[in-house]
Every structure is written in structure tokens, then in C-alpha cells.
């Protein structure tokens, strides 16, 4: 298979009067690790949703219009087998009052529906996946009892269990402590090594964006910069994306 994992051509999304994304053209080769950086409201999550094929399905306020084209593995996102794409949504969007055990959440990623009873095979597979991300002890814990960081691990296991060819993560490091964060990148890199999958991750962590990525996508409704970290993570581009960068605690010009 030679089609790029993701290919956007002059892609734009408009919610009513508000242009969320415009003229986004980029190509992500298979096996890449792309970190997506940009200020709040830059359209980062919308971009991931476009790749999932759900950009029009979630907003109720206004008419959504989409222009240009999106291709995932050479197909329209809606035509890509859902098992090929793993997705870790923003944890803050999640309703914790739903009665469920962590292991059920993981199995839902495998089944693509909600489990009534778990088969022994599913349980084993889900436990193995939880173990991989260091969360086996959480298997039978209720969702409402998980911390933000624990929930992130469960969601990561949920997205990995279907062995996706494309993994999309929306701020997966939110709520993680330093150890949890380095664990997360270790798990992602390990998965990528063994599977050759493509990873696209939204983050606010500039350090992580440089160190773990093969490419950085700097976006603020338009593509400000896209390429190897060392080339994109320069002061001018960052200033263009974020406005005045001010004093940064992480040297933005450091080579990755």
C-alpha cells in the first residue's frame, strides 16, 4: 500500500460564519509521527474529526460546510474501515457518570459497540492491552473512580486494542504527571515500532512535540508550518501561530 496515511488538499471547514480551517494542504506518509501544535481554537480537534469522518456530525449550532478534500489511506474518511483508525478523544469531553468498568471501555474499542458480557478471549486481550500501558490494575475499576491520567491510559488501551494503522490522539497528555507523560510517549513509540502505524497527536507540550515527532504541524486555522521539528519549531513560525510568544520556559529554537 503506497497511499499516504493522510492527504488533505485545500481543505476547509466552516461552522456558520466561522472559518475553522482553511486551505489546509498536507500529506502525512505512513509510519510518520506528527505532533499538531496550535493555539486554542486553531482547528486542531476539527482536523482530527475530519480525519475520522465526523466533522459534520457533532456540531448542532450552525450549518457546517466542508471544502477541499480529505483522504485517509487514499479513501474518503467515511469509507475507511473503522478498525483502521484509533482515536483518543479529549478526556474533558467525557461523561464519567456512565456506569462502566475500565475493561469494558477497552473492549468497546475492539467490538466497536458496547459489551453486554465479555468473552474470555476479549477479557484476555483487553487485560494484555491494559498491562501494556501500565493500567492492568485498573481493569475492574469503575470509570468514575479513575483520575484523569488513569483515564488517559484506559483510553489509550482502548484505541490500541484494534491495532489501528492510524492513531489520532487529542491532547493525550492532559492530566498526566511527568512519569505518566514519558510513559505515554514510550507506549506510543513502542506501538509504532511494532506496527508501523502512523500517529497524529495534538499537544500543547512543545518539548514533546519536538522530541518524539518525525514532523510537526503548526496550525492556526491555516498551516503555519509543517515539516521536521527542527525546521518548524522556530521562533518566527511559533510567533506566527501563537501571536506574541513572550518568554518561554522551553527554548523554542532548540534543535530536536
Amino acid at each position: 500500500m503506497t497511499a499516504p496515511a493522510v492527504q488533505l488538499n485545500n481543505f476547509g471547514v466552516r461552522f456558520g460564519e466561522f472559518q475553522v480551517l482553511e486551505q489546509v494542504t498536507l500529506e502525512v506518509p505512513q509510519g510518520a509521527f506528527v505532533t499538531i501544535l496550535g493555539p486554542n481554537g486553531a482547528g486542531k480537534s476539527t482536523l482530527l474529526k475530519a480525519l475520522l469522518g465526523i466533522v459534520g456530525g457533532t456540531l448542532r449550532d450552525a450549518h457546517t460546510s466542508v471544502s477541499g478534500s480529505v483522504k485517509v489511506f487514499g479513501h474518503k474518511p467515511q469509507d475507511v474501515k473503522s478498525g483502521w483508525v484509533g482515536y483518543v478523544p479529549q478526556v474533558k469531553s467525557f461523561d464519567r457518570s456512565f456506569p462502566a468498568l475500565s475493561i469494558e471501555v477497552v473492549v468497546s474499542g475492539l467490538r466497536q459497540s458496547w459489551p453486554f458480557l465479555l468473552t474470555a478471549r476479549e477479557r484476555k486481550k483487553a487485560e494484555a492491552m491494559l498491562d501494556k500501558v501500565g493500567a492492568l490494575h485498573l481493569a475492574n475499576r469503575r470509570l468514575g473512580r479513575l483520575s484523569g491520567g488513569e483515564l488517559q491510559r484506559v483510553y489509550l488501551a482502548r484505541s490500541l486494542i484494534r491495532e489501528p494503522k492510524l492513531l489520532l490522539l487529542d491532547e493525550p497528555a492532559t492530566g498526566l504527571d511527568a512519569v505518566g507523560e514519558s510513559d505515554l510517549y514510550r507506549h506510543l513509540e513502542a506501538y509504532q515500532r511494532e506496527s508501523g502505524a502512523t500517529v497524529m497527536m495534538i499537544t500543547h507540550d512543545w518539548e514533546a512535540a519536538q522530541h518524539h515527532a518525525t514532523a510537526v504541524l503548526l496550525i492556526n486555522r491555516r498551516v503555519i508550518g509543517y515539516g521536521p521539528p527542527a525546521r518548524v519549531m522556530r521562533h518566527e513560525s511559533l510567533a506566527q501561530a501563537f501571536g506574541h510568544v513572550g518568554h518561554s520556559h522551553t527554548p523554542a529554537t532548540r534543535e530536536g
Partner: protein, 263 residues
């Protein structure tokens, strides 16, 4: 007491109570977990308008109430999907319109309508053979659709993940709202329009307090919905109180116990 069981209208009352008890508490889990408790009220009042229209036209009220309530339910869902008004607002608007229409229809009918009172507060002993068939039909439909539980539960857990996995979430929303309307209308004679929302919500809320998974919440809710009907009927028979209120009070008692017992 036991000889009462031989009376056909008592037998019909028991079967009707068990059927709608199971149906309401089954869909109730989704209602509670999707935070749509107010929908039960909205649909109950849509049923009220439908019943009033039926009485005005001298038709069998339930036959008018069924399409009316289903129509309102689909319209509520349509407004919910198309606007960011929020579920409570969308439901509240249709709630008010339904009550206004119901009152209008009642006032247009000449003379007092004592039968309307039976619909407002329920009169399980007037359940006819035809009513039972309708309830059984709805129950059969819901049972045949039970394989969809896993998708309904998935979208209840996280709508976006279900959409990302290409589940027909929107279609299921409409289907569920139509089923809800059917169950509400079917429950009118058993618990009455005023109490239907409680009848849908309390068993599920009770089950929610006592269970850790959505599957066990569903099972326990149905168990509570079904078993609370019998003591409700018995109490209603012995103390000569309205059946609907007796059943709902039994459910409320169970809810209170669950609050005390939960872990």
C-alpha cells in the same frame, strides 16, 4: 384477595402492568444515562394532547395519542439535532405546546369529560383486550430490537466514538424517541399521564445506584420495573388507591432503600 386473580379485568391489569413496567424501565436506562428524564414528561403531555384530540373526535383515544406522541417525539429529536438549544429547552417547548393543545381540545368538547381524568391519573382496571395487544406488540418490537442495545449503549457512553466507528447514531436517536413515545402512550392507562416520567426514570435511577456496569444496570432496572408493579397492584387493591400512584410509590421506596444501601 386471591379470588380477585380470576377476574378477567384483574388479569389484564396484571399483564398490562408487567408489560409496561418492563418496557418503561428498559428504555429508562437510556433516558437516565442520556440525561433525558424530562423527555418522559414532554411525551406524557404529548400523549395528553393526543388523548384529548381522540376524545374530541370520539375516536379511541389511544389510537390518536400514538401517532400524535410519536410525531411530537420525532419533532423534539429533530429540534435537538438541529439546534444548540439544549434538550431541556427543545422538550420544554413541545411540552408547553402539547398542554396548550390538550386543554384547547378538551375545552372544545361539549360537556365535562370524566374519561379524561382516567387518562390523567391512570385506570389500570379499564385496560381492554385491545390495549393488551398494543402493549404486547410494542413489547415484541422492543424485544426484536434488543440487538441494538449495544449500539445505543455505545452512543450513550460516547456519541463521538460511536460516530467515529460509523454507527448510525442519528437514526438510532429517532428510533429510540419513537419507541419512547410508544411506551409512554402504552403506559398511560397503567400509571396515568402525570406519573409516567417517574415510572420511566425511577427504576433506572435505582439500578444506577446499585450497579457498576451498564449491562447490569439495564437488567436490574427491568427487574425493578417489573417487580414493583405487583406490590403496587396489591396495595392499590387492598387500600383502594389509584394503581399508578401505588406503583410509583413502591418504586420510590425502592429508590430510597437503594440510596441507603449503595456502596
Amino acid at each position: 384477595m386471591l379470588e380477585a386473580l380470576e377476574l378477567p379485568f384483574i388479569q389484564r391489569a396484571i399483564i398490562a402492568g408487567l408489560l409496561v413496567g418492563a418496557l418503561a424501565s428498559y428504555l429508562g436506562v437510556l433516558v437516565v444515562q442520556r440525561r433525558l428524564s424530562f423527555l418522559g414528561h414532554g411525551l406524557a403531555h404529548a400523549a395528553f394532547a393526543g388523548v384529548a384530540l381522540g376524545l374530541l373526535l370520539y375516536q379511541e383515544p389511544l389510537w390518536v395519542a400514538i401517532p400524535f406522541a410519536v410525531g411530537v417525539s420525532l419533532a423534539i429529536t429533530w429540534v435537538r439535532e438541529r439546534s444548540s438549544l439544549g434538550d431541556d429547552t427543545a422538550i420544554g417547548i413541545f411540552f408547553a405546546v402539547s398542554v396548550a393543545l390538550g386543554v384547547l381540545f378538551m375545552s372544545m368538547r361539549e360537556g365535562f369529560a370524566p374519561d379524561a381524568v382516567a387518562f390523567l391519573f391512570g385506570s389500570i382496571l379499564t385496560v381492554t383486550q385491545a390495549d393488551l395487544w398494543v402493549m404486547a406488540g410494542i413489547a415484541l418490537g422492543v424485544a426484536l430490537l434488543s440487538p441494538l442495545w449495544r449500539y445505543w449503549a455505545y452512543a450513550t457512553f460516547d456519541r463521538e466514538l460511536a460516530l467515529a466507528d460509523r454507527k448510525p447514531v442519528l437514526l438510532h436517536d429517532y428510533l429510540l424517541s419513537a419507541l419512547m413515545a410508544l411506551v409512554v402512550v402504552a403506559s398511560v392507562k397503567v400509571v396515568g399521564i402525570v406519573l409516567i416520567a417517574a415510572f420511566i426514570v425511577i427504576p433506572a435511577a435505582t439500578a444506577r445506584l446499585l450497579t457498576q456496569t451498564f449491562a447490569s444496570m439495564t437488567l436490574l432496572s427491568v427487574a425493578i420495573g417489573v417487580t414493583s408493579v405487583i406490590p403496587g397492584l396489591v396495595a392499590s387493591y387492598i387500600f383502594d388507591v389509584p394503581t399508578g400512584s401505588a406503583i410509583v410509590l413502591v418504586q420510590a421506596l425502592l429508590f430510597g432503600l437503594a440510596l441507603l444501601l449503595r456502596r
